[in-house]
Amino acid sequence: MKRNFGMAAASMLFAAATLIMPALMPDADAAGRDYISIVGSSTVYPFATVVAEQFGKTTKFKTPKVESTGSGGGLKLFCSGIGVRHPDIANASRRIKKSEVDRCSKNGVKDFTEIKIGYDGIVIANSRDAGRMNVSRKILFLALAKDVPSGIGEVLIPNPYKTWKDINPALPDIKIEVLGPPPTSGTRDAFAELAMEGGCKQYSWIKAIKKKDKKRYKAICHAIREDGAYIEAGENDVLIVKKLEANPHAFGIFGFSFLDQNADRIQGSIIDGVEPEFENIASGEYPISRPLYFYVKKAHVGLIPGMKGYIKEFTSEKAWGPEGYLIDKGLIPMPDKEREKYREDGRNLKEFSM
């Protein structure tokens, strides 16, 4: 019986092997690659995937593969070289940096095209069960910065504010409790740059530091308090929305698309008198919004099938136009003229310049 068991096990493995073996044989053209490989920002990911799916279903090309690696990680992969092993397109929730362009050209990625796809708003939201907050960027800075101006002279003190009322008597008397992304997130970077710095530089003496000591200026304006008022809630925005529902006193920081999808549960705070609404973000009135991009490797356009088609699909009116399907997913469209410009850039594969 013991022997039988060993035999049975062996023959089972063998049977499994023969069943799956045909599938193991690499495709004839495994050396090449017959699908587009896209990497990059997790903010652009929801939009790029919709375009990829649409492109795969409506054309004869295969559906592109979209990896969510973050803007920095994506551009690093994008800039690592030319050839089928390297990605063809990189998504980014910020513009490519000089250092990354240098890295690219060092690795032979000299020609690429930049296409701006639209905007993403960052919202500060709370539960619909609570009152709607109306704040300025200055208040946000005072509520969340690590060190704040003491009010007397040009001195910084560790953030003393415990409730919103402490900052401004007109605000409600509830504890400052903000759930937001961790430092690794692009949303956090954008929030620090647009909201925190936006409020910070309204102090003229802090703004004056910028010229003398850029590093110190950045440290003052971008540092977020660590005494428990700002809670790092991980990269999962779904979780933040759930927590806001459970705790009406808490606020959350995330992308506009999450507010849009959960509008029956949460509301976006008014910033500098502007509501976080579609039209306001599109017109640029809402102060905390950032542009989104993708970069196309020109050397791959003839190499990988479907590259031009993908760009065409992404830049078509039915995708990124004011009534397109990307808008339905939470993208904020660019004005007509800008869309026209980037559509042309995409068609001609215009060379990137800083």
């Binding site: 013991k2 060993g6 499994a16 990829a52 092993r85 999962n236 509008a263």
Partner: protein, 434 residues
């Protein structure tokens, strides 16, 4: 004599001491037992909470809302020249057909904005569904058919009661849309059906079209590669170390290293995979072959350790008996020791594989955390795996992905349960005790 006396009257000092301590010892034992039971109870409670929440959140995803449309497959739209050319049929404007049908169902809708709302009642997959129907049977052209198409995810959530309507204008489903849905419900044109697409489709950004087949197949390929490599390698290593290798400083070093590797965080194996398999051997990114190789590295120590333990538990007399009747050492091991140790080895392997099945961290580094629609067709094809699919869906803004995430977790748990049950059955059936 004295001692027996003392015992009989029960008042000797030693007995007194024992009696006094007895109560305390019983009490201690009782506390210990209660604590043990409490620990088990708490663990079971946690497990129950986990299962109940996941099932409660997830069972809804096994049903999907469908809307009935009476679609007129108009020849002038699909194939105006009656060419019957598959290219013409495939590129025809099927979403136009869907829109036309919806307009006919609600003739009162006039404004552009309202029409847009109306069109968004049904999934964008409806047009693809019609295309598939026509491609399969071009004879449908010119006829009117009753077709059940999947509803949009917002409508699906509304029907399932996960989304509120109206109320302050904040909802995804506006009042007029909710009214149309009511009309459809009254007409019996909305129905919840078993969600076949969830099991037959690959990933999609439309929750109503998203399925786990791609991830399941990807997981199977990855597990296959892992099993094919880690089982033979692990068992061979264990046999050599246990039965043949001399006990010296080198084998000690190897043993320490194997035990160490078993405790290394899995992300480290991912980094190793990135450096070795992708950058040095230039294997394709996001492929099950690389995922399998990385997970092999991760499961090997577990399998080796389990296999060695199970070899150690085979009594020495079996080996000596075999050697005594003239078998060579290899014959003794292969014919007598190995068959007895195999059930234990398989159990260890299955448990190692179950761990590998639930792993995401190392796969992040080698590009398997990706949006992939096509179901993979081989171990060199681009693929993702079940736990990664769970992670990706959990991160999606669409409300309907919440229940799909839980449903995918249920599927993953079922697989794990099957594997662990298999391990128990194998052990029970073939284990020998001495």
């Amino acid at each position: 004599m004295n001692e027996t006396e003392m015992r009989q009257d029960g008042s000797g000092p030693r007995l007194q001491l024992i009696k006094a301590g007895l109560k305390r010892r019983y009490a201690k034992e009782k506390i210990f037992r209660t604590l043990g039971i409490a620990a088990i109870f708490i663990a079971l409670l946690m497990l129950a909470v986990l299962f109940v929440t996941i099932t409660k959140n997830g069972y809804g995803a096994f049903e999907q809302t469908f809307i009935r449309l009476d679609v007129a497959f108009d020849a002038s739209v699909i194939d105006p020249e009656h060419s019957g050319d598959p290219d013409v049929l495939s590129s025809a404007n099927y979403s136009g057909l869907v829109k036309k049908t919806l307009r006919e169902m609600f003739p009162e809708v006039k404004s552009r904005r309202q029409k847009r709302d109306l069109y968004s009642l049904v999934s964008r997959g409806a047009a693809f569904h019609l295309r598939t129907m026509v491609m399969a049977d071009p004879g449908l052209i010119g006829t009117t058919q009753t077709v059940w198409v999947p509803a949009d995810d917002d409508i699906d959530m509304l029907i399932k009661g996960h989304i509120k309507t109206g109320g302050g204008g904040g909802s995804r489903v506006k009042a007029d849309k909710a009214a149309w849905v009511d009309t459809l419900v009254k007409k019996g044109a909305i129905e919840k059906r078993f969600n076949v697409a969830f099991f037959t489709n690959g990933d999609s950004r439309e929750p109503e079209l998203a399925g786990i087949r791609g991830a399941v197949v990807g997981s199977l390929y990855t597990m296959f590669v892992t099993l094919m490599l880690s089982f033979p390698l692990g068992v061979a290593t264990a046999i050599y170390l246990e039965e043949f290798a001399p006990k010296n400083i080198w084998t000690d070093i190897i043993e320490v290293n194997i035990n160490n590797l078993a405790a290394v965080p899995s992300i480290v194996f991912g980094l190793l995979g990135l450096a070795v398999f992708l950058n040095f051997f230039e294997l394709p990114r996001s492929a099950p072959i690389v995922g399998g190789l990385v997970l092999t590295l991760m499961t090997l120590p577990t399998i080796i350790i389990a296999s060695r333990v199970s070899l150690q538990s085979v009594p020495l007399s079996i080996r000596e008996g075999a050697l005594g009747v003239g078998a060579s050492r290899m014959q003794a091991v292969l014919h007598h020791v190995l068959p007895l140790a195999l059930p234990g080895m398989l159990t260890g392997t299955i448990i190692g594989m179950a761990r590998a099945l639930g792993e995401t961290a190392p796969l992040l580094m080698i590009g398997m955390v990706a949006f992939i629609v096509d179901v993979p067709s081989g171990i060199f094809d681009k693929a993702t795996v079940l736990p990664v699919q769970v992670y990706l869906w959990a991160d999606s803004p669409e409300r309907a992905f919440v229940e799909r995430t839980s449903a995918a977790i249920i599927v993953l748990l079922v697989f794990l349960l099957i594997m662990n049950a298999l391990a128990v059955v194998l052990r029970k059936k073939f284990e020998q005790r001495w």
